[in-house]
Symmetry: C2
Subunit: 234 residues, 2 copies
């Protein structure tokens, strides 16, 4: 694991607060591994033997219902961790995880980690912080699903991707549109229509390339809805 990787690990809240020795000893014996797009990391119900840190690429955490449709709980990238919670409930993953863009991940083994938690109270503290963040992100997700239209959710998603908070921006969608759709709780067809609707708000798309004319306007749309929706064409 080179210094670039260590820097990425350091972005994870869980590891940011640790001394570099503590960090090193946690990572010892966990070499980063490459995973190809499509690969399953674990499935709902599996024994929770490890949690993961993403160094590169994208991973989705989701659940597939009996009726076949899937709910996405999170899509994680460099500097983020996932799968921690499973260590504390029954030792089984409550959801599945799959690589959606070629990835490099570090697996931290649960039994090793659990032991250290008992001996290092400040590690528990950091873990509590990490879990609170996940909780918070799910709370936001529930709020969005309950109170926003699909176009509004898309608007908020685009704003969250934008590198700036003001003015205009150009960005590349980080993964497939159909995954974005599921992540936002809608079907791919609805995502397409969402983009069509946002054209009146100054959003244009070309493949995975998105141009936002005015981020503030888009943010307002995401929060308040179509205050002054224009006609679609022109």
């Amino acid at each position: 694991m080179d210094s670039k990787d260590l820097e990425i690990v350091g972005r994870a809240p869980l590891f940011a607060g640790l001394s570099s020795e503590a960090r090193d000893s946690l990572l010892r014996g966990s070499a980063p591994r490459r995973y190809a797009k499509g690969q399953m990391l674990f499935e709902q119900g599996d024994d929770a033997s490890a949690f993961f840190i993403v160094l590169e690429g994208w991973v989705k955490v989701f659940r597939t219902s009996v009726s076949g449709d899937e709910a996405v709980f999170g899509v994680f990238t460099a500097g983020e961790t996932f799968g921690e919670a499973a260590m504390f409930i029954q030792g089984r993953y409550p959801a599945s995880a799959q690589v959606v863009e070629d990835a490099r991940l570090v697996a931290i083994h649960a039994d090793v980690f659990r032991e250290r938690l008992l001996r290092e109270p400040e590690l528990s503290f950091l873990m509590l912080g990490a879990m609170s963040r996940h909780l918070h992100s799910l709370v936001n997700q529930v709020e969005q699903l309950q109170t926003r239209s699909s176009a509004q959710r898309l608007a908020q998603f685009l704003v969250s991707l934008a590198p700036v908070t003001l003015g205009s921006a150009v960005l590349a969608l980080p993964y497939d549109k159909s995954l974005i759709a599921h992540r936002l709780g809608m079907k791919p067809e609805s995502l397409s229509r969402g983009f069509a609707r946002l054209r009146s708000q100054g959003v244009t798309t070309d493949g995975n390339r998105v141009v936002i004319a005015d981020i503030c306007a888009l943010r307002d749309y995401g929060e308040f809805g179509p205050l002054r929706e224009q006609v679609a064409d022109r």
Copy 2:
């Protein structure tokens, strides 16, 4: 705090694993208090000075958006805790809490608790378990919102309230229907229509009294949808 109360506290996962001395010392200085229906316990953005254990009654945790509609993240009753996560992120509540049925609660002060966490690793462990549970419940909520119709969500809610897992059951709805509606991510009108739809599945209502003819059938409906939906009337 009498022995009945202590027994209720003991039902909370957070406290179940503690020795009775540890439990007592945590509760010391935190007398249970009565709260009337409608009372606000905290509002989104407030300093997170405490978290709560419910001894009796019901409390909803929710968020109100600028546009006025509210998203409910949980409704808690005897033996449940809420508001813990706020202690670990910025020290602010990410949502509001309000008493929805006259309640008795114990408030545990954050600063006291945080100190003890650092000194008692197994307390952190229990806290991690409690947070995992909340996480899990939100994951379920997201899944339900994304993959189930309003009638299916209602069916699952009723099944979760039923005292038995088989055969027929009679139960009383624990709080207002409009709150149930918000909790399930729909409008009160849709809840009414949900009940109407479930009549064909052997569910009858009279005020807050609900009779379920066959819990298994209702559970199937909640999971798989209307396999063999009958005509509504008769």
